[in-house]
């Protein structure tokens, strides 16, 4: 990696002022470092300054009350996965966190880092390949090897968003608190992520001088069933070939509302309103759940090597719906 100076963060004000005006890549933030260090070692990123966020006070805890959760951005993935209240009332989130990588990575990787992690695309991760995402001319996945790439929303960059936690948070209607030089703002996690058509170089709306500080999750209704299903080639560690975060308000076997957000299939977590519509108000059975899966993938646009993601995604949605109705 290139040499950089290392600054311990003392306050958010200091962090945003260090970030200000530098543009992307000059000054970067590090917390767990499980993604960033790999990028530095591979010379994908070559910042001049790294700000160590782990010295920021009060950003690494989970508070749960009757209205919901507040999770500091420096909370580790492991703490989310093992939190009893999250396991009980926000199951999809605990399951998504538990499916991330390995125990070692979950123990140091943070919520903020998980949401802001960069793509795993093998062209992007190869320093010697200049692809569209890195300012080059083409997305090599279009004509090249695209087994792990997007079937939704790709154009013009066909990466998939690698986060497991993001689809779960969106399915739970969570919000994200962002601090910048002008102060703080809170937006829906769903609005945080962007597609390459809007910006081929970034995966979210964060400005170069902004920082994610907290995630807020409203408490689901008591009749909610939620779950996360992740298909992968290897038990662990592996990123999702496709995943489904499902949050269902159930009355017996009848689905009152459904929130279905997909991972591993698009450059951003992908809400399937088609699947949600197919399930809402329905008694869940084989044919309803199958229909929901079919609806979800009817507009899929697979590349050369990832057509399998279409039935896979369809099947995962059906399975999630059936599981919500059965447990």
């Amino acid at each position: 990696m290139e040499k950089f100076s290392y600054v311990n963060a003392t306050s958010l004000k200091q962090v945003t002022s260090l970030l200000s005006d530098s543009g992307w890549g000059e000054v970067m933030m590090i917390a767990g470092g499980t993604d960033l260090l790999a990028e530095l070692k591979e010379y994908i990123e070559t910042p001049k300054t790294l700000i160590n966020l782990k010295t920021l006070p009060g950003m690494d805890s989970i508070s749960a009350d009757a209205s919901g959760l507040k999770i500091g951005a420096l909370t580790t993935v492991a703490e989310i996965a093992m939190h009893p209240t999250i396991q009980q009332d926000y199951t999809v989130l605990a399951q998504a966190a538990a499916s991330v990588a390995t125990p070692q990575i979950r123990n140091v990787g943070t919520l903020g880092g998980n949401l802001c992690q960069r793509p795993r695309c093998w062209y992007y991760r190869d320093e010697t390949v200049s692809c569209l995402k890195k300012g080059g001319d083409i997305c090599y996945a279009v004509e090249g090897l695209s087994k792990y790439h997007a079937i939704f929303g790709g154009d013009p960059v066909y990466i998939v968003h690698p986060s497991d936690i993001a689809p779960a948070l969106i399915a739970l209607n969570a919000s994200i608190k962002i601090v910048g030089p002008e102060g703080e703002k809170t937006i829906k996690v769903e609005e945080f992520f962007t597609l390459p058509a809007a910006n081929p170089f970034r995966e979210n709306v964060l400005e170069p001088n902004e920082i994610v500080v907290e995630v807020q999750v409203p408490k689901p209704n008591p009749n909610t069933k939620s779950l996360y299903l992740k298909a992968r080639e290897k038990g662990a560690p592996d990123f999702a070939l496709a995943s489904v975060a499902g949050v269902f308000e159930m009355m017996g076997k009848t689905c009152q509302t459904a929130s279905i957000v997909l991972g591993g299939v698009a450059p951003a977590p992908w809400r399937s309103t088609d699947a949600e519509t197919a399930l809402t108000g329905k008694m869940i059975n084989d044919s309803v759940s199958t229909k929901a899966g079919e609806e979800a993938v009817k507009n899929a646009q697979p590349l050369n090597d990832n057509e399998y993601k279409v039935p896979l995604t369809q099947n995962l949605i059906s399975r999630a719906a059936m599981m919500a109705a059965s447990k």
């Binding site: 795993r120 093998w122 062209y123 190869d126 010697t128 390949v129 090599y140 004509e143 090249g144 090897l145 087994k147 792990y148 298909a231 080639e233 290897k234 038990g235 662990a236 560690p237 592996d238 070939l241 090597d305 990832n306 057509e307 399998y308 039935p311 896979l312 099947n315 995962l316 059906s318 399975r319």
Partner: protein, 705 residues
């Protein structure tokens, strides 16, 4: 004549005995080449080609040389030469720290003219493909072999199957990457710590390379983190380390990165075979016609076994190599066998199905190995073969189970070329020294067991010194599953000779003839009067200022070649996700005399895991667009983890009391067993490895449509 004696007479041989180095390994006390640090040592790195094919126009080392902390920079190619695969060496740097060495690599400026490349077999064989080596159409002259009358036999066949089977390039994934620490004590004496399978081979190679006497090179490999056939020589990286060391006068450590390990440190070649085979109505395999090829990268050597294991009278085979701009193949655990076994065992099941026969019965008819016939019976019983689907894919539910069987064979049996000494010191301590190397297979423990058995001691009483050419007791490289069978007879005869000498010292004291003496447990006694006894230490004490040190000799009667194996797999396929979970593998493997049953079982376990990885996960992925390997890491090059490892029932199948060896064969039958089990589960055959979810889902979708 020496023999290993009856099993009932063995106190240690054939028992399950913990590896002597186990504790050191799990506590981190064991030092691998990676762990060696020498005073003043420099760190070296190699600059490698990013591209698959290019002409070198110019190399400028000056800026790297000027970087503070850099002690030497050397070119490894020159202007006017071509780089023929990604990862090929361009230049090397030695520096005070590894970080400086890394930085210096980025200050080497290379001007390349990129050339057309082919990185896949299909591209290499395409019309108008650029010719990348001295083979027309990038294809070697085919080797053709014909026996019997194939055409007539097909006419006789009741059923025929025509199919294409493919296995991709697999890399060795040694957990310890290739590398060396090199140190010149003066310009004629070199010491090398090497991660190698051949201590003496590496010694001789360095001696030739640097034109110094072989006895002035010392190679040390105390512990080694995996080779699987890829670590027989120093390679470019070893020579480079020694050269940098010579230039700087300082020790140099040069270990390959994981990326380089995938790119240049060897691989198992791919295999594609188009095969047509026929069987008679009574289940005899009568005709076999195969045309196949593989790529070993820019090198040749992409052979495979076809037909395999099962006998077929009339056969025609045609094989050739395809050249691609990719790193060279090297021997990899049972070269050519797993690929061949996958194709053959798949083919056998396809034929059996057409005949309406149980695939196991079909094998029995065509397998002339009596050992495997018995293994079929035992394996079928252990897996519960009667529970398999008689109609493939007939299981109900989303997750479908199936069973399959596969077979393998191997040689082993050892060979001449090992020298060893067994020494008894006057204080009763015992040393066994030989120049073999323990590459993880447990030869250190096997040697201790053999000597301890001979002397009536415990394995932990024996100090075993291997992995060092210093004592000047050569032994061959650890390949071909030959180590134990090569070393064991020499150790055994050395121990016998040393014991005889000790008996000669003891005989006068016990007032008994030498041939009436025997070892007990820590004692020597008179066979005709068991009360007449001395302890081992008392006996050794008779040596006074002397010690006994005896060499051994190669004894044909203590070893034998040829092993057979069969494996049964039970899998569960998730038809919604395409995931294949192997539930159980029953591995029935003969290996001749198992010196140590525990490490033999470990060998079988390891072989099964490796075979499972090749069947379900592993594949070198080359990108035709960029010429790059896209998964030169352990994120996208997937090897089995704990979630993938099934219950493994490793059965050491005792056949005879001669040492044979079992390093390679247990990785062979796994592929066919799992692939056939997947078919039995879902009723769709996948003829291309690895069997990943995308292939399963695609196959299921095609079946549905």
């Amino acid at each position: 004549m020496a023999s290993w004696g009856e099993a009932s007479q063995s106190r240690l041989i054939g028992k399950r005995i913990a590896r002597l180095s186990g504790k050191d390994k799990v506590t981190g006390k064991a030092k691998y080449t990676y762990d060696i640090n020498r005073p003043g040592m420099l760190y070296a790195r190699i600059l490698r080609s990013d591209v698959a094919h290019a002409a070198v126009m110019d190399i400028d080392l000056s800026q790297a040389e000027a970087l503070p902390g850099v002690k030497a920079v050397i070119p490894l190619t020159e202007a006017g030469r071509n780089l023929r695969y990604q990862g090929q060496e361009i230049a090397a740097v030695a520096a005070e720290t590894d970080d400086i060495a890394k930085d210096a690599l980025r200050l080497i400026f290379v001007e390349l003219e990129e050339l057309p490349f082919v990185v896949t077999e299909a591209d290499a064989m395409a019309e108008n493909a650029p010719q990348i080596r001295d083979w027309e159409g990038n294809q070697s002259k085919p080797g053709i072999n014909e026996q019997g009358n194939v055409q007539a036999a097909f006419e006789e066949a009741a059923v025929t199957v025509e199919a294409t089977y493919h296995t991709p390039v697999q890399t060795h994934v040694c957990l310890e990457t290739h590398g060396h620490v090199t140190e010149w004590t003066d310009d004629q004496n070199l010491t090398v710590w090497a991660s190698t399978q051949a201590v003496f081979g590496v010694r001789n190679d360095f001696a030739r390379r640097f034109e110094i006497p072989a006895n002035q090179v010392r190679v040390i490999t105390e512990h080694m983190g995996g080779g699987f056939g890829s670590k027989f020589g120093p390679g470019v990286e070893g020579h480079t380390a020694a050269q940098l060391s010579r230039i700087t006068g300082l020790p140099v450590k040069l270990m390959l990165t994981r990326r380089a390990e995938h790119l240049v440190a060897g691989n198992r070649p791919s295999m594609t075979q188009h095969v047509k085979a026929g069987a008679s109505s009574d289940g005899r395999l009568v005709a076999y016609d195969m045309r196949g090829y593989g790529t070993g990268g820019i090198s040749s050597g992409a052979g495979f076994q076809a037909p395999y294991v099962y006998h077929v009278e009339n056969r025609k085979t045609e094989r050739f190599n395809v050249a691609t701009n990719a790193g060279n193949q090297r021997a990899m655990r049972a070269p050519g066998h797993p690929q061949g076994a996958f194709a053959m065992d798949s083919l056998m099941d396809e034929l059996a199905e057409k005949l309406g026969m149980n695939p196991l019965e079909f094998r029995r008819i065509n397998d002339s190995s009596e050992v495997r016939q018995a293994q079929y019976t035992l394996g079928a019983q252990e897996i519960g073969w009667h529970r398999r689907n008689t109609v493939p894919g007939s299981g109900t539910g989303v997750k479908k189970r199936g069973m399959g069987v596969g077979s393998g064979q191997w040689g082993g049996g050892g060979g001449r070329g090992t020298q060893a000494r067994v020494t008894i010191n006057a204080d009763g301590t015992v040393e066994a020294v030989t120049g073999t190397q323990d590459i993880g297979t447990g030869i250190r423990t096997a040697i201790a067991i053999i000597v301890a058995e001979e002397f009536g001691l415990a394995p932990t009483d024996i100090s075993v010194k291997v992995g060092d050419s210093g004592p000047g007791l050569p032994s061959g490289g650890s390949g071909g599953s030959q180590t134990t069978a090569s070393v064991a007879p020499v150790i055994k005869t050395a121990a016998m000779a040393a014991k005889q000498k000790l008996f000669e010292h003891v005989a006068p004291l016990l007032k008994a003839p030498v041939d009436d003496l025997r070892v007990g447990t820590g004692t020597i006694y008179v066979a005709s009067d068991r009360t007449n006894t001395v302890t081992w230490n008392q006996a050794a004490g008779l040596l006074g200022q002397e010690s006994i040190s005896e060499g051994g000799n190669w004894d044909q009667e203590l070893r034998q070649g040829g092993v057979a194996g069969t494996q049964f797999a039970e899998v569960e396929v998730d038809t919604q996700t395409g995931n294949v979970q192997v539930l159980k593998i029953v591995a029935v493997q003969d290996c001749g005399l198992a010196i140590n049953r525990l490490t033999t079982e470990s060998q079988i376990n390891g072989g099964v895991v490796m075979g499972l990885g090749q069947t379900l996960l592993e594949e070198r992925i080359m990108d035709p667009q960029t010429g790059r390997m896209l998964n030169a890491n352990l994120e996208d090059y997937k090897v089995p983890g704990t979630y993938e490892i099934p219950e493994i029932k490793s059965i050491v199948f005792d056949t005879h009391r001669k040492v044979t060896g079992v390093g390679e064969p247990p990785c062979i039958p796994t592929l066919g067993a799992i692939a056939n089990a997947v078919y039995n589960a879902i009723g769709v055959r996948i003829r291309e490895l690895p069997i990943t979810p995308d292939k399963v889902l695609t196959a299921l979708a095609e079946k549905k449509a």
